[in-house]
Each structure stands twice: as C-alpha cells, then as structure tokens.
C-alpha cells in the first residue's frame, strides 16, 4: 500500500450543446488501494470544498455489473487493466506522478449530457426493436421441457454477459454497436426459445442500430479488446450470418 500524486486532465462540459474542454487538477496522496471511482470521489469532495463544481460521472453498483460507469482513461475505455470496468480498476495500476487523461465515451449516438456522463439510450432502443423472445407472463412450458445442451447454454451465457456499458462503441473507430447488438442476437439465436423470431430480430435490431447513428463494423477488433466482459467478436460473425440468412429468407 502506498500513496501517489496524480495530474488529472478531465473533460468538462456543462451541457450537451455547450463547448467542452480539458481541465487540469492536481490530486495528491491517492492510496493505491482506491478504486478509480473512489479517486474521483476524493477529487469531487475536494472540488466541493473549494467551491468548484464536481465532475459528473455515471456509476451505480461499483462491482462491475450494472454497466453504468465508464470513461476513457489515457485513450483506453475503462482504463489500462484488461477485463474490468472503471469501478473495478484500482489505482495501483498507476505510478506516482502519472498524468491521467479522462474523457467521456465518445460516439455520435451517445450525446454527452455533462462532463463524463453520456446518454446511451440508443442501446435501449436497439433492444426494444427486437432483443427479446415475445412471450407473455404465464402459460409457459416447464423449464425442463426443452433440454438445452450445457455447452449451448454456456455459449449463450457468454454472449448474455454483456453489461451494455458502451465501451465497444467508444473504442471503435467507426463508432459501431456491433458487439453489443451481436451479443443479444447471439444469445437468443443460440437458444431454442429464440428461434421463432430469429430472422425478424436480426433485421430489426440491425436496422435500429443504423438508424441510431452507429457506424459500420470494419473488423478493427478494438471492441473485443476493451470489453470488460470479454464478449467475443465471434458474436459479430454470428450476427452477420443471422442477418444474411434473414435477408435471404425474408427478402
């Protein structure tokens, strides 16, 4: 355990349509045991006591599952450690005297609301357009009625583990939402329950993705590299197949 001094350069922006810029803050004696968000808490408490506006950032569960937090740290979404969200990143990943450049997830489809806080509701609209099995409550068959081989369930679970944080979009040079969309399409097309609506789902979700202003995939693999849940780009290949099959069969 030790303390480090940091130089922070943080994106500050008052509102969606106001101009933003980087502001520099010196933050001393940060325990390396702290999480990144606790470091931001300390900064905010300090700013508050100095009569300055604290930095707005999204966060909630602080254990890497709600998908609420996320910023770009020194050019990498969720920072330098692999397979963690920002709330799980600990300050021991940094050295005394480091400069940290902290900015929001940037994408045409994610307008900045304030400082590091962005609007990711485009993700919700992608799901709303087809990321489900259309069953009403009640009258469903027994859970064991349709056997699902363990490896299939595991593969579906790998895809279902997506937390919808948006790091994939922020890291993609094209601002594509392919990893996010493909994770949901994969989960459902792998499972027997998802078969009935499989074609329509792929068509609708891809259409919404385009409409929301997300870019195209050009196989840069940046999304996979920053994904805190290691969602594989194999899902993108699966989505592409699903989409093609759907186009061919539905015209």
């Amino acid at each position: 355990m030790s303390d480090i001094d940091l130089n922070l350069q943080i994106w500050r922006q008052k509102k969606t349509d106001s101009p933003g810029s980087f502001q520099t803050y010196a933050l001393d004696k940060i325990s390396t045991e702290m999480s990144f968000l606790e470091m931001l808490d300390v900064l905010n408490e300090k700013l508050t006591k100095e009569g300055l506006d604290p930095v707005a950032f999204d966060h909630d569960c602080r254990e890497g599952i709600c998908g609420m937090c996320g910023t770009v740290v020194n050019g990498v979404a969720h920072g330098p450690e692999k397979e963690v969200t920002l709330c799980q990143l600990h300050m021991r990943n940094f050295q005394n005297g480091d400069t940290l450049v902290i900015e929001p997830f940037r994408s045409r489809a994610f307008p900045i609301r304030k400082d590091l806080l962005v609007d990711r509701s485009a993700f919700d609209r992608i799901i709303q357009s087809g990321g489900y099995v259309s069953v009403n409550t009640g009258g469903t068959p027994d859970g064991n009625a349709i056997p699902i081989p363990a490896p299939t369930a595991e593969l579906a679970m790998d895809a279902a583990a997506c937390i919808g944080c948006g790091a994939c979009v922020a890291s993609c040079p094209n601002g594509a939402a392919m990893l996010f969309t493909s994770a949901k399409v994969s989960q459902l097309c792998l499972l027997p329950q998802g078969q009935t609506e499989r074609h329509q789902r792929a068509l609708n979700m891809v259409e919404t993705m385009d409409k929301e202003g997300f870019g195209n995939c050009s196989n840069e693999r940046e999304c996979e590299a920053v994904c805190p849940k290691s969602i594989s780009i194999r899902n993108i290949a699966r989505l592409n197949r699903e989409y093609l099959k759907a186009v061919l069969s539905e015209g």
Partner: protein
C-alpha cells in the same frame, strides 16, 4: 392506522386460489382505460410493468438509472430458489414455505410466504421461456446448487450473475412493451413525492435528473418497486443510488412502515480499507464451505498470518459451534466476527477484519479443486485487494446487505394508502427477521410477474375513481413541497463552502451511528444514545450542508443530499423500532435477550408481531402499531447451531 392483512380464508394451500377466484377482474377491453405508475425497474418493477402492459393496462415506468437494465437487482450473484424438486431430493412447495418462514425466524405471515413458494416454479418457467441462460447439466436439464438454510438443492443460477440474467429477462419483456407503446419509460427520474387525491394514491412528482425539471404524472394507481434502504448505513453492498426516498415519502403521506430495524448483515464481504471507501463488495458465502475463520489468540499479534502457528490461532466459530463450525448462519457468523474485532483481535490495517483461510482445504483437496470451486471469487478478491487467497488467508468482515423491513403491505401488496402498492425489497412482506439466500430474487419476480396483476384488477374492479389532472390542487401542492424541499437543501450554499459540511460527511456520520448502535447487536443504552444524537446531526445537515451547483441541471450532489435528508429522518424509526423490539431475532441480537450460552433469544410471547410505524408529522413522535402474527400451520421453534 388500520392494519387489515386481508389474508384469504381457507386452508393454507388453498388461500391463493380462493383469493384469485374471489378477486374482481377488469375486462380486457376496459384495461386500456387505466393508467398505472410503476416506480422502479429492478426485478419487481420491470416484471410488474411488463406483465401489466401485456394485459392491456397503460403503464408509465420510472427509474433513476440511465436505463431500466441497470437497477440494483443486476448485482445479485448466487441464484434464485424454486420448489421444482428437479433433483428428487424431497423438496416441495410445503418445504420451501417452511424453510423460508423458519429462516425468517417466524416473523412473517404464513399466507404470504406460502404463496411465494407456490408461484416459485412458474418464475423459473417464465425466465426460461424468455431465454435466460440458466446453468444446465450435460443432459440438457436445469442445474441446481444448494444455499444456506436448506437441505435440498433448489437454487437455480446463471454462473455468478443470476441477478443480471433475470433482470435482463424482465428488462427484455419490458422493452418489448415499450416498443409496442404499452409502457412509457421514464429513465433518470427520481420520485420525490406520491400524490394523494381523496385519500388514494393518484400520481407522483419526480425530478428529471438531466434537466432538473419537477414533473407531475397522474395514474389510477401507483406501484412502488424501489428496492431496499441498506445505504442508510452509508457503507453497504447496495448500489450507490439505492435509497429510502420513495418509501419514506410514501410513509410521510400515510403508508405504514414495517420492521424498519430488520436489516441483514452479510458475514463475508471485503473489509473496509480506508475512509475514502464508497461501498462494500460481497464475497459469496459459499466460501465458508472450505474456508476456516480465525483471528490471532493474542490481542495485537502483528505477525503475518502465515507466520502465526496453529497454537496461536483462535478458530472461534469451530470452537463455539462444534456441529456447524464455519457454516453457522449469516447472523451468527457476522456477530461473532464483530465480537472478535471488538475484543481487539481484528486483523488488517483497520483491525476490522477476520481471516478466512483456505490453506487446509488446499492441502486436503489440492489447488486445482479449490480453484474450480472458487476461482472467480479468488480472482475478484485479488483484483480488489491485490492479495491471493491461495498464498495467504482472505480477510473478511460483515457488511449491511439486505433490508427485510419495508412498507407494510396486506396480502394484496397494498400499503395503508389505498391505491399505493409496494413490491420487491421495498415491502416487508416475506422474509420476516432474516432473508434466506436466493429468496429475494424469487420474491421480486413473484410479486411482479404473478401476484400484482390480481391485486391491480381487484382494486380497479372494486373502486370507481374520478378523473384527475396534473393541474389539480393536490398535484400543485406536492410540486410545491418538492420545490420547497430542494430550495431548503440549497439554502446554505450561496455563501460558498467555508464552514460548511458536505453531503458525504453527514452520510458517513449517520451511517456510523447506525452501524455502531443499530447493527447486528443492539442494546437499550446504545439505541437511546443514538436516538439522542440524531437531532443534532439532522440540524447540522439542514443548517450547514453545502451543495455546489444549481437545481435546473445535472447535480449529483443535490441528488445525494435529497437521499441523505430522507435517511436522516428514516434513521429515527429504525432506532425506535430496534428499541421497541426487546427480543433477539433473525438477523439481530438484542443484547438484553440472550440465552445462558450467549445465543440469541427470541421472545414469541411478547414479540410475535410486525411493528408498523405511523408518521405523525415532522417533529412529532411516531406511533407504533402491531400486526399480530398467527401461526396455524407451523410451530415456531428456537434455532440452535451448537
């Protein structure tokens, strides 16, 4: 305040069916005329919104987070119970009912708990049909694990992310209804007030977290599914936005609050490491299957744990509870850890931790076997603490985890305000004085998918409600109240921060007061002193809190301040409730009520009741009412783990 639990007649196993048959219905064509507000999109709120929308009601749903998918339910790890008996190990609805009511230390209603067990199986079927990727056996059937408080394997799970997968299932059903226009979704809204017209809940007032606008919404009924209040203690395993505000606002408008002092403290969390700590992380209690809990025998033994020989270690759980050892229930494990630390034997930099040691298990079973069982937990622990449980013992400490108390509801889940219902963790209904693992997810989904629609139809079918509008006096008054409170919060801030306190400073202060005096072990003296200290903290908050920024913009300090203001008021009934309950039961030990062996002593003669608090106005003493619990089907027994 009248407490009519509305428990249906008939034999226990027939009550729910009788009730459904006797409840009024709303004809499908008429349902679209009714508007329902649902606050919260955790398991309870998301499942209720989707189900009611499918049935044809017009639903308006609200949540604090930027997406309904991020509600705190997402963080649940271990699993969800159901009485499927897929393992043919003797499980049944009756057994799940019994385990749950016994686990709750006989402080919940038989009829509610029985219904919960009855609908548990449909929950699993529903989730499977939605595409929830539950763990499967190689043959393709569903896998189960066992959890504390049960001798059968009835817990369904999706890796260590069961809450996430169940919530995403409910969220997908909700999303489908949003797409259809049956649900209007309002993200990033915080409910600040419930609006009553003619004594009935007819709407809410919210603050738009992005714009700061105060907004008014009308409906025919209001459902609260706003989760638990564990963050009253500042540090807990709950998500940061978890709060008591919605429930507290309802309470102040007339909803009874039941058993506010019933709080579960989980024994295996990663200890606090500094005063900057913002939340606590849960480590699954399954670790106690192989880990041995110990502290150094000598106070102040500063040696590295690996250098402390067996002879100088105190395996206090194994010594005190030879038959259950390290696997004693949550409350016993938590209490004993605190006791050791209070004796000065705590370890780690803060001395608020005990060791959980896997060395013997690794020696016995080999590293590979242990890693197969706990690999992901060990990794998570190492990521946070930078220490490997394979090389040195883990350090653990208890943390506030779940709140059994909540808004009082009848069998229909209706609060004492007509038209206001409470679902999920924010009601008090099913877990008595202690919740068993894997049963909160079950209750949230039971309430939302399978219980509430009967209540909704019955309420709308029996009451004729007049039209209301957001320009009615009641709505304007509620709006003014909300604006007044926000202005009051901001009133100290014009002059800058000099000589002021921050929101977090006050939150930490009240949290510590509650933790020290109204935690796992309580006594009259401590509780009385806490009660005496509360007004000064409240006063300091209102007179000195400094909140930067404005109200008509994103202002996270203001959001937190509003929640802390409510925790400060709420703390009073927590402490009063703990004071009034002079018995030990469930999760808490009342120090004056112990057996000769220093174990918790329940007092059925005097305390077999639900304590329900009524608000009598700011500054006035709240009144406690009792709902007597009646046990016709089970006989309350004393627990023993020796």
């Amino acid at each position: 305040m009248e407490l009519n639990s509305q428990i249906p007649s008939g034999a226990l196993s027939e009550k729910w069916d009788n009730h459904k048959f006797n409840s009024k219905l709303v004809n499908p064509a008429n349902r679209r005329k009714y508007k329902i507000i649902v606050v919260g999109t955790g398991l309870a709120g998301a499942s209720a919104s989707a189900t009611l929308a499918e049935q044809g009601y017009q639903v308006q749903t609200f949540c604090i987070q930027d997406s309904p998918r991020r509600a705190h339910s997402i963080a649940a790890q271990g699993g969800i119970n159901a009485a499927k008996c897929y393992q043919t190990d003797g499980d049944s609805v009756q057994r799940l009912f019994y385990d749950t009511i016994k686990g709750g230390d006989f402080r919940s209603r038989e009829a509610n708990v029985y219904r919960l067990a009855q609908v548990s199986n449909s929950i699993i079927d529903q989730c499977v049909a939605q595409g929830v990727p539950f763990a499967r056996e190689y043959g393709g059937t569903m896998a189960n694990r066992s959890f504390g408080g049960a001798q059968v394997s009835r817990t369904f799970y999706a890796r260590g992310q069961t809450g996430q997968q169940l919530l995403l299932g409910a969220y997908s059903a909700l999303s489908r209804q949003i797409h259809k226009g049956q649900v209007t979704m309002y993200n990033r809204r915080e409910m600040m007030e419930v609006v009553l017209v003619d004594g009935r809940a007819r709407g809410i007032v919210t603050r738009n977290i992005i714009t700061g606008e105060i907004e008014k919404y009308t409906a025919d009924m209001v459902l609260l599914a706003t989760g638990g209040y564990g963050n009253a203690y500042f540090l807990s395993t709950n998500a940061m936005a978890s709060n008591v505000t919605a429930a507290w606002r309802a309470h102040k408008k007339g909803a009874g609050f039941a058993n506010p002092s019933f709080v579960q403290i989980h024994p295996t969390c990663i200890p606090v490491h500094g005063d900057y700590q913002s939340k606590l992380t849960l480590m699954s209690e399954s670790l106690r299957n192989d880990g041995r809990v110990w502290v150094p025998k000598k106070v102040g033994d500063k040696r590295h744990p690996n250098d402390i020989p067996d002879a100088d270690r105190d395996y206090y759980l194994e010594k005190k509870y030879p038959s259950f050892g390290n696997l004693v229930p949550r409350d016993v494990a938590s209490r004993n850890a605190k006791e050791q630390c209070d004796l000065g034997k705590g370890v780690g930099s803060t001395q608020l931790a005990v060791y959980l040691d896997f060395a013997d298990a690794i020696k016995r079973d080999g590293q590979e076997t242990i890693m197969k069982k706990y690999g992901n937990l060990f990794q998570m622990y190492e990521k946070i603490t930078d220490s490997s449980p394979l090389k040195e013992p883990m350090m653990i400490y208890p943390a506030v985890h779940y709140t059994m108390g909540g808004l009082w509801v009848d069998y229909n889940l209706m609060t004492t305000i007509p038209g206001l219902f409470a679902l999920g963790e924010c009601n008090f209904s099913d877990h008595g004085a202690n919740r068993l693992g894997a049963s909160a997810l079950m209750q949230g989904l039971a309430d939302g998918y399978f219980v509430i629609s009967t209540s909704v139809a019955n309420y709308l079918g029996t009451n004729s409600l007049r039209a209301v509008s957001t320009s009615d006096d009641a709505f304007n008054e509620a709006e003014k109240e909300v604006e007044g409170r926000i202005n009051k919060l901001l009133k100290n801030s014009a002059g800058g921060p000099a000589g002021k306190v921050t929101v977090d400073e006050i939150h930490k202060e009240i949290g510590k007061l509650l933790w020290d005096n109204c935690g796992m072990a309580r006594n009259k003296e401590g509780l009385e002193s806490a009660l005496a200290k509360l007004p000064a903290i409240k006063e300091k908050f209102w007179n000195k809190v400094y909140i930067p920024g404005d109200t008509k913009e994103i202002n996270q300090s203001l959001e937190r301040a509003g929640r802390v203001a409510d925790f400060l008021e709420f703390a009073e009934i927590m402490v009063r409730d703990a004071l009034a309950r002079e018995e030990s039961c469930g999760c808490h030990l009342r120090e004056e009520s112990q057996t000769e062996e220093n174990e918790a002593k329940r007092d059925d003669e005097n305390f077999s009741h639900v304590s329900v608090w009524e608000h009598k106005g700011d500054g006035a003493e709240p009144i406690m009412h009792k709902e007597q619990l009646v046990f016709e089907n089970v006989t309350p027994s004393q627990r023993s783990y020796k």
